[in-house]
């Protein structure tokens, strides 16, 4: 069966069909078409995941097989990671559509149509093996995402948030396109494997470095790595909950995946000798992103912005993992991405429930108002523990694997960054859970954030939590937990990582149709003792931070005042930088590209 | 490089600068239309007639049209004082 093309053709056709039926459909009918289509995509992705367990699946569109080792058509080249990420994407899209069932009446098919197009774009992006084709699907997902982010047109921030999102990400696509132009000028080909093959015959000169900088920067804009991250908090704070779920759970991570894909398949054959330098740059950038994201996360009162900054923090962690360029690092990051994606999506869904039940998004204003909805509170705490990477959550396994990789490659100091990031984000969520659901620290004198008057997203009685909102949230949280309990999961991911990082093997399979060589077996994985120790330390630190956040204002005396003043002095510039001004964001973006370019130029020459 | 190509390239460089330098949107839409046309000429000179046709229909017809209707919509909003708040 030809599954691979159907993974994008099905949602595209469903989107076309829905629009053609147009105004004749009410919401239920639109949902009844969109949801099965998304489920079909999900099933296809799972099937692809199973089929690629021991190798690659290559699909040539239009039946254009390579001729004498030269790619003529466009291929999907699917490995475990591509299929796995596509599965995560489609799963979250299904969840988003389920949540949509309670969403307030908008003119029906448009939301579903955009969601399906968004899904098709992301899935196609994960599966594609052709650089320009990746760009096309990237644009499809971006355009759908811009519209989805601004979907709540009645709210003022929604407009500004999606405007910033659209402008910065569009400039990101221009960077990618310029990079493609450079590579095409040098190699004359577009297939990733073929680019790798062709680049390996030439030297490392300005063109290769500039092309890599432009492509990586373009993808990292989508991933929201500092200093490209500004748009993310604006956009995620305003997107409708069902959309936010997909944004936070998968879209940012696609940028990280893409950097790995182009490195291993296209650039490693030429630049592989400079892997050490790349490692340093990526790990430093990741660590910086993680710290900035975590600090900003802890400072937020607006719950969605809090989760948005947590997303940025974890993007930094994943970049550290990818930056290791080893099976442990990449595999750890991959497992972490999936488990954390589910956990974060669950947290966004619970915030949606709070918004529905209590009409608010400000932590301070909601203080104590969550007492009547304890089950939602439990889900939030589960989400916080997933952030803390506690065993047996999937995040724990991912983090343990990542830590092994860091120790092995001599980046032990980065473990501290991982630990702090987990502790701070988890502490922020625990603080919000305790304040909202238990009413602790309700006497905090600070001013609540202004962006609180919010329209309810969902229709229906605010006195009840609709099942279609609660069950997805609980299931996502449970999924994050269950991922760590599946036996053989870590080993399978490690195998996938080895395949992902084996660029030459991939090229042979794509261009010459050879079957991939079998990789060295993976030993059964048990997390080392220190991983448990780190987890305990993280949780302890998180609890301390949460308590400090809740009751810190009650402290009197000179040291407390001094600390508060120090905090203010450090945080004021950080807040000021996140200005919401589009011109600022673009200026930082350009500076970031120049910085990455400079770092790569020094490293690779 | 032929003289036509060089001339078209310089025209495009000047045109792009002019588009950015024009602050008033309606006038800018007009300049952008001319810029699109110059790009079209350049692409003919680059032996890419398909792209040239596309660029001319998009850059000097569809795009300015879209900008003009957007400007007129904004003006109407400003005149009637329609805001959501």
């Amino acid at each position: 069966m030809e599954l691979a093309p159907l993974a994008v053709a099905v949602p595209l056709l469903a989107a076309g069909g829905l629009t053609a039926a147009g105004a004749r459909l009410n919401r239920d009918a639109a949902q009844a078409i969109a949801l099965p289509a998304a489920l079909v995509v999900c099933a296809i992705c799972v099937a692809l995941l199973v089929r690629t367990a021991d190798g690659l699946e290559i699909y040539w569109f239009g039946g254009w097989e390579p001729s004498h080792g030269m790619a003529i058509g466009v291929s999907f080249a699917i490995d475990t990671f591509g299929a796995g990420l596509a599965t995560l994407v489609s799963l979250l899209v299904v969840t988003g559509l389920v949540l949509m069932w309670r969403y307030r009446e908008t003119d029906p098919p448009h939301f579903q149509v955009l969601m399906l197009l968004f899904c098709a774009g992301m899935v196609g992006f994960c599966l594609s093996g052709d650089l320009f084709n990746m760009f096309v699907f990237f644009e499809l997902m971006s355009i759908a995402a811009f519209a989805l982010a601004g979907f709540k047109v009645e709210e003022s921030e929604a407009i500004e948030g999606s405007l910033n999102f659209a402008v910065t990400n569009t400039i990101g696509s221009f960077l990618i396109l310029t990079g493609i132009g450079l590579l095409y000028g040098r190699t004359g080909v577009l297939n990733l494997a073929q680019i790798g093959d062709s680049l390996s015959h030439g030297g490392t000169d300005g063109l290769v470095i500039a092309a890599f900088t432009l492509l990586a920067s373009g993808f990292l804009v989508k991933a929201a790595v500092v200093p490209f991250h500004f748009w993310l908090a604006d956009a995620y704070a305003v997107a409708p909950t069902p959309v936010c779920l997909v944004f936070a759970g998968a879209m940012s991570e696609l940028g990280i995946y893409a950097v790995g894909r182009i490195w291993f398949d296209a650039f490693a054959p030429a630049l592989g000798g400079h892997a050490d330098e790349l490692r340093t740059v990526l790990i430093l950038a990741g660590a910086f992103t993680a710290v900035v994201g975590a600090v900003m996360c802890f400072c937020q009162d607006h719950l969605r912005r809090l989760l948005a900054f947590a997303t940025i923090a974890y993007v930094g962690v994943f970049l550290i993992g990818l930056g290791l360029l080893s099976a442990e690092g990449v595999g750890g990051a991959a497992l972490y991405i999936v488990a954390d994606g589910l956990g974060k999506a669950s947290l966004f869904a619970t915030v949606g429930i709070l918004q529905h039940r209590r009409r608010g998004l400000s932590e301070l204003r909601l203080a104590g108002k969550g007492r009547g909805i304890p089950y939602t509170g439990i889900v939030v705490v589960v989400g916080a523990l997933s952030f803390a990477a506690l065993p047996p959550f999937g995040t724990f396994c991912g983090k343990a694997l990542l830590e092994d990789g860091l120790i092995k490659d001599g980046y032990g100091w980065a473990i501290a960054v991982l630990l702090v990031t987990s502790a701070v984000t988890s502490g922020a969520v625990l603080r919000f859970a305790a304040r909202v659901f238990l009413g602790w620290g309700a006497d905090d004198p600070r001013q609540p954030s202004s962006a609180d008057e919010t329209h309810s997203e969902e229709e229906g009685d605010p006195d009840r939590t609709p099942a279609v909102m609660f069950i997805p949230a609980a299931m996502l949280a449970a999924g994050s937990l269950a991922l760590g309990l599946i036996p053989g999961m870590v080993e399978a991911i490690e195998r996938g990582a080895q395949r992902f990082a084996a660029g030459t093997d991939y090229a042979q399979a794509v261009l010459h149709g050879t079957s991939v060589s079998s990789l060295p077996g993976v030993e059964p994985y048990t997390a080392p003792l220190h991983a448990y120790l780190y987890a305990a330390l993280t949780l302890a630190l998180a609890v301390v931070l949460a308590i400090a956040g809740l009751f810190g204002h009650r402290l009197r005396g000179a040291p407390a005042r001094w600390l508060a003043r120090l905090g203010d002095r450090l945080l004021t510039p950080l807040h000021a930088v996140h200005s919401g001004h589009i011109g600022d964001y673009v200026a930082w973006l350009v500076l970031g590209v120049a910085a990455f370019g400079g770092a790569f130029a020094i490293g690779f020459q | 490089m032929t003289a036509v190509q060089a001339a078209a390239l310089i025209a495009v460089a000047i045109g792009g600068t002019a588009v950015v330098a024009t602050k008033d949107p309606p006038r800018q839409a007009l300049v952008a239309g001319i810029f699109g046309f110059a790009l079209g000429i350049l692409f003919f000179a680059f032996q890419a007639p398909d792209v040239a046709l596309s660029e001319i229909v998009v850059g000097s017809v569809a795009l300015p049209a879209m900008i003009f209707v957007a400007i007129s919509k904004v003006r109407r909003q400003a005149e009637t004082g329609e805001t959501d708040d």
Binding site: I143, F146 | G16, F35, L42, P49, V74
Partner: protein, 114 residues
Amino acid sequence: MSFLPYAVSAWLFLVGLAGVVRSRNLIHLVICLTVIQASTYVLLLAVGYKTGATAPVYADITPGRSVTDPVVATLTLTDVVVEATVVALLLALVVRAHRRFGTLDPDELHEMRG
């Protein structure tokens, strides 16, 4: 001389970026983005050009002749469509922003946000 097309491409990218950063009007900003996009067209088509070649249309030339690269033309075609769509979507957002805030100046817009 042979570097001129690439220099023009780089120039358009930078000028467009400067326009975006310093823009006082969101519609102006959107049009500046099209200038950046034009930079990518110029780059792609300049890369695929061959001296003395004609367009790969065989209705009026003999098959043996040197032709320009059809792939860059295809890429640029896609690029042009992307431009049109991005502009349409951004203009819709700008119109909404104006309706909401009554201004098109990014400076005032972000003050309102506080």
